[in-house]
Symmetry: D4
Subunit: 248 residues, 8 copies
């Protein structure tokens, strides 16, 4: 196939239907993969419906606003995670349609409202302190065009609350589970559903929770085989992976 398209190009040159200059130019603008190598923007076709993302933490409101405004011009959705209200106020001045999701600590611009996901993504969290991370996953999945259902405060020490909501869990096509402390919830949820579970350890807890390390190790060693794990507090990553799965 590669050979073919190249062959065609050379024959057009031979037939003088295009000049060498034009040929060089075309060669340069052919998608890289046609040449069998790396491509300049390999992500473009994959990026349809993907939000542009800014990590807000450690940036000044002015910096966030400037980047947000630039990305907003691309026409797609924009998401600033770990953002403060102060950052939002600056963004709002430049991008009218930006909105703030305080629970998720996220600034969002949802220009593309198309639904890309084929089913529902369930976002489950263990305790109320895990909600910011869970909400970051929710917002990410929503901006990537998914129907999201959340189920909060269903920690393993009160297993009945989780079981009482099993029905909604089993309807999901992918499940995200956020938990701090011992990080046991993904194992229990993993045992209840037959779909992929994305586990997010949170930094909730104190003492030997070691800022999420206990939860991380717990999740890595889950006895449920359908669990894979993202970084501590990485609600965005979980929402992103779940969205990719839900598009398949």
């Amino acid at each position: 196939m590669n050979a073919e398209s190249l062959h065609k190009l050379f024959q057009q040159v031979r037939k003088r239907s295009i000049s060498p200059d034009e040929a060089v130019d075309r060669l340069r603008h052919m998608p890289f993969e046609d040449l069998g190598f790396a491509k300049v923007d390999h992500h473009r076709p994959l990026r349809v419906g993907m939000p542009e993302v800014i990590f807000g933490e450690g940036k000044t409101p002015a910096q966030v606003a400037q980047i947000f405004a630039r990305l907003a011009k691309h026409g797609g959705n924009v998401l600033a995670t770990r953002s403060s209200e102060a950052q939002y106020k600056q963004v709002k001045k430049k991008v009218r349609k930006a909105a703030y999701r305080p629970l998720a600590r996220a600034i969002v611009l949802q220009s593309d409202l198309k639904v890309y996901g084929k089913g529902t993504i369930a976002v489950v969290s263990a305790g109320t302190s895990d909600i910011p991370v869970a909400e970051e996953a929710v917002v990410t999945a929503e901006l990537m065009g998914n129907e999201v259902q959340h189920l909060y405060d269903v920690g393993v020490a009160g297993i009945h609350r989780l079981l009482a909501n099993r029905a909604s869990l089993t309807r999901a096509r992918v499940v995200i589970v956020c938990a701090g402390m011992e990080g046991a919830l993904p194992s229990v949820v993993g045992g209840l559903v037959g779909v992929p579970v994305i586990a997010v350890p949170t930094s909730v807890g104190y003492g030997s929770a070691f800022k999420g390390l206990a939860a991380l190790l717990g999740m890595m060693n889950s006895c449920a085989s359908n669990v894979s794990v993202v970084n501590i507090d990485n609600g965005f990553g979980a929402g992103y992976v779940a969205s990719l799965i839900n598009r398949l």
Copy 2:
């Protein structure tokens, strides 16, 4: 629906077509989910095409053979991971059709040959020492009814080998990446494809590789957003999660 089946039961009682005793009995034997609670065998519908699995390490050949034979009677596929040839020999005596996959250190019985996966699962590994883990993922995915394509020895220090095989990567519906040492490969692969990447840290390496910890931490902190991680050397887990995704 739950309500419905319960309603039907009560009406049969009312109509005296069944006695209260029979009704209690039936209620007891109804699948748990009909009652909206935990179910006895909640995995059954999900388990179609899932192999029965034995963790061979630390078991005597006799133990593995006994469990293998028992599970083989269920009629589905059986997989014994981390198994030796000695274990295989014992299994073979009891289960004729069992086969040994030395690279994967796995004993397999593939009774169910149906294809459940909708696309291809690509299994990528960094070095030759990572192959046992990669092969465990391959075997698992194959026994769960997937078409699998593997791409070995494409470590990040020779990025051209990986790029030269990009075409096959981009055809995959899910990608599994196994790497020890610095565990950098999932990030690079993650950047090349637009589908979910399941990263498997391996215990390959020495010194400060700390038996896979360096690779694990690297993968948890991947700058590619489509990466989620399973336990060190957990090729089975990666194959399992990838298979679930590929069925969606």
Copy 3:
């Protein structure tokens, strides 16, 4: 018994004293355990005398006050741990009878004054810096209806102070021991008494104390067989476990 209550239900249906619709409804509202499964509020009978608990850290005074007031309506004791005076002031406005225990950093409402514990709980601490954790254990045990005796500043480097108080230790039915730094006290106390010892590592210390890790590891490896351990600084947990034991 389960069978019985179910049987009764079916017979009422048979006798047409209730309709199938009603029966389904009743079945739905029966306590879960009647059906032999998970129960909606399995804690109720156990919770007699247990305080409702709020983890104050990281919550605004307004949030603490709101939750405290809501829980206070249940009629039982309420305990807000890791709470500041600022939080207390807000609580006080809504719940008149709330009191502040500064040493324990706890806001308490003690409506139920009944004694549930059969003996005395002794709370021992190594240094003066461990007192906040010890006092949290004291307050918890008191709110759960126990007689509590405390013994502070009896670190192992001055073993005579501990020995001088052995008599009161040996009178206790359960002993809680709080210690930071090397966390050696539970082992010594464990050797002096014949009852269960709940050890609480504290984050007291600096350098290689690693915020309680040294004490935690020390306690996990206690050469006294009657020692079990809760999380770093978890005075509440120790008080809770000790209270459960003291009720037996």
Copy 4:
């Protein structure tokens, strides 16, 4: 009693049957407990029904046999933990009534058959690989005069199996929970019962299980307040603590 012996001494002095010098001397050589301070064998009254214990690991069969035989002469129960069959054979030659419990890897001599525990101790374990640790707890509790009930292979990924056995759990006066890998089971069990739960992390697992560290951290951070923890693989310690609680 202490007072008595002292009183006697003083009266002998008064009666001049002994001189003050002799009295001082005798006082110096009296057993410590007579003086009400540190006592020579302060454990005796507490030790009724406690087994004498040998840690078998790393000892030769001859060493274990020699110590076992010596302790057997005290007349009480003797327990050698982490012992091999080879060690047992040597013990058997010296102590006829000694028995071997292979699952628990324990050599036992049960001379005292009295029941000291007031209720039942439940021993729960997550996977089949956790059984040796669980059985060590069982044997310990039995030798300390308790009725023990075990419930094995009820890991959190198949929560229904645990729930199906809730009844027997709720009958226990103390619960021991052994789990490796993510160590989540104590939290779930803790939420189901209202009694103290002793959690035992096991070294079961691989990779980031880090020989029980993941389970240990998980259990230390349990969201169930009735959980306290003993050392990794310390089935003996759990059985010991549970026995003390069950005697209260």
Copy 5:
């Protein structure tokens, strides 16, 4: 002395000036050391010339001042480590003769000026940032009656500066070495002198210095056999141990 007071007691009994009952009672209330066992203040004879010590960190100026004033009444030296100038100002109001040593962050009251040490204690530090810890050792040793000589900024990367000062090192009877980062200095100094070296890891450094852990591990593994180690930043402990040695 002990014998004496006991003797006296017995003679009073003999003389019938007190009854045996009274004698028993008095015996019970005598200071512990009179009986030759655990003593109430067993440190007194050892404490001659030892400062009373306050750990200033985390205490309010008022608290430090109150404790300082109380300890000052004992008549000996008083040392408040890790203290701020604000704390000093409050102390000064209550204890006129108190002085502040800013480099050591210490408040001192030196009432006892006697020299207890038999030789010189050398205090060596690697970098200028280690000086606060080194000075804490200096102040401690001075308050315990030692002649102290300090040698600062002689890190191992400029070994000539250390060697140029070898003479003064070899004159010392004990050497304290403070170093952060790689903590290599004690090994080099240990090789140059034939006396005990007390190594103090400091939290100086960044990144993988891990707040003194790198230095601590380095010093624990010193190839010089005359090195023993105290906690990170524990200048006080080093000064204390060195003073004890210097008194021998």
Copy 6:
């Protein structure tokens, strides 16, 4: 040369132009290297073109200014790393020609403009957050007389951006690579070039990045053989080592 100067000394003694006493004195004051042993300032010949360096963090503006001014008098380049604008303002008052490099958080005085490096040093960084560390390396290398080329924001998840700049990489004589999170970039760059690569882990990232530990371990285990590593965030060290290499 050493022999020569010594010889001269002895001959002066022989000629009685100086007395033995004077000779001993002179010998004592001769530069150490003349004697062939440790030398007082052994670095002088090596230090040509090396900047004098101040670590600004934790110093007051006044302290930085004072040290800076003193070092500036030596006539060479001066570099204050990890310095704030406030520190710069104070320096500026004393040293007119000092300049501030905000991206690198560095105050610089470049008096010596000579080029000491034989080729180009390339400084590569993975993400925008790594730039401060990369810029510190750039500034260091520039002050040490090197031509520096930087290549930022070429993380491994977008491998094409790196490859598109391969030409400039392959022109470098030494390459510095700064990366946080998984720290994978040095391996990829290492595979693309045939010269030494100095890897700098940065503390960029969150959760299990553990402040640069994940990146550090990744780089230590690089599968590219031409990579060596400096401390987390140690841009200065990387610039220094690279400069030494570039002078060879």
Copy 7:
């Protein structure tokens, strides 16, 4: 330039001096970088004088022999690190000229005897136990065409032995320093020389040496600015990096 060569190609096609088929073929065989992308074998020009390397550990003698023989056919030097004598015996059968270096545990084939290094590489080690790692560095550097000088058993606790050999150190163009335990030697050596120092932590030591971790952390935090570090026991890596530097 790229454009140029492409232009030329197209013009040749236009002029029909070459056929389209030939053109496609040529395009395929043009060096990749001419196209501005990844190149197939970018290492070739860099690899002159680099040995082919096999990591012997964990391979059977047959495997090592087979790989060794295959690589030997390339005509360059071959190095098998971490190899046993048993492995060597098998290699010897297939590759006559292979030799065994027992101290370095290396099998070598030195076909290319050309000197590529411009100066001397000094390899220094702290203790006799570090020699295997040091020798691996020596062998690697020798096979890469360098003059190597080694200096063993010069640990920091006997600094005089190191200083007595300073002359040979200062003659080196690059220095490799291998040390276990506290890993202090690179800092001292770094301070004595003005050239790059490659530090290799070794797993020599016990207890808190933690298999090289203490040495690794020490070296990462070296106060000498000319030190960079490779993995624990990675003598090969150090030899490789040093060789690259020595060629510049």
Copy 8:
């Protein structure tokens, strides 16, 4: 003295009894310390009574025997630590007077029987498993000419056994305390005596003892100020440091 010998040299030159050339030569060959700098064998005067030491672990019997025989020729004491009986047998063949101390796993040759220590060194150990480490300390101290008294099996969980032996403890001039598991014993002993305590963590324990790390951290954080610490299982180091102190 230095000055003197130099002066003499110069006067010889002045008197022309030696030529300048000879003088330079002599200066070069004078012992280093005469010049006030690093000395060739700076340890000699310190080494009187110090044993020559071999670390036996990992060496073949032949190697140990060879080194032992060579060191024995120096005429002083020789100590091979961590040595097996097999190693001893080889040593015995070459060095008749060598003896084996099985508890300490040490081969000793005691040629110098002089007493160097001024008082007694007490060696205390917590459990029977700590005895090998304690005995290594005992043997070391004995070979360095000290009177040693040991006190074994006095763990903190049976504090009375320790207290019963307080008298012998308080007679010691230095105390060595060996303990594994929680490592609490040094703190208790430290509180009972007024002399320096050298703490030796041992690798005794399992699970979260982490091969001595728990004990090490416990000892580093001892609340007793007279405790300093050596490496895990480093009985030799403790004996060495204690011996140096006891000579002062």
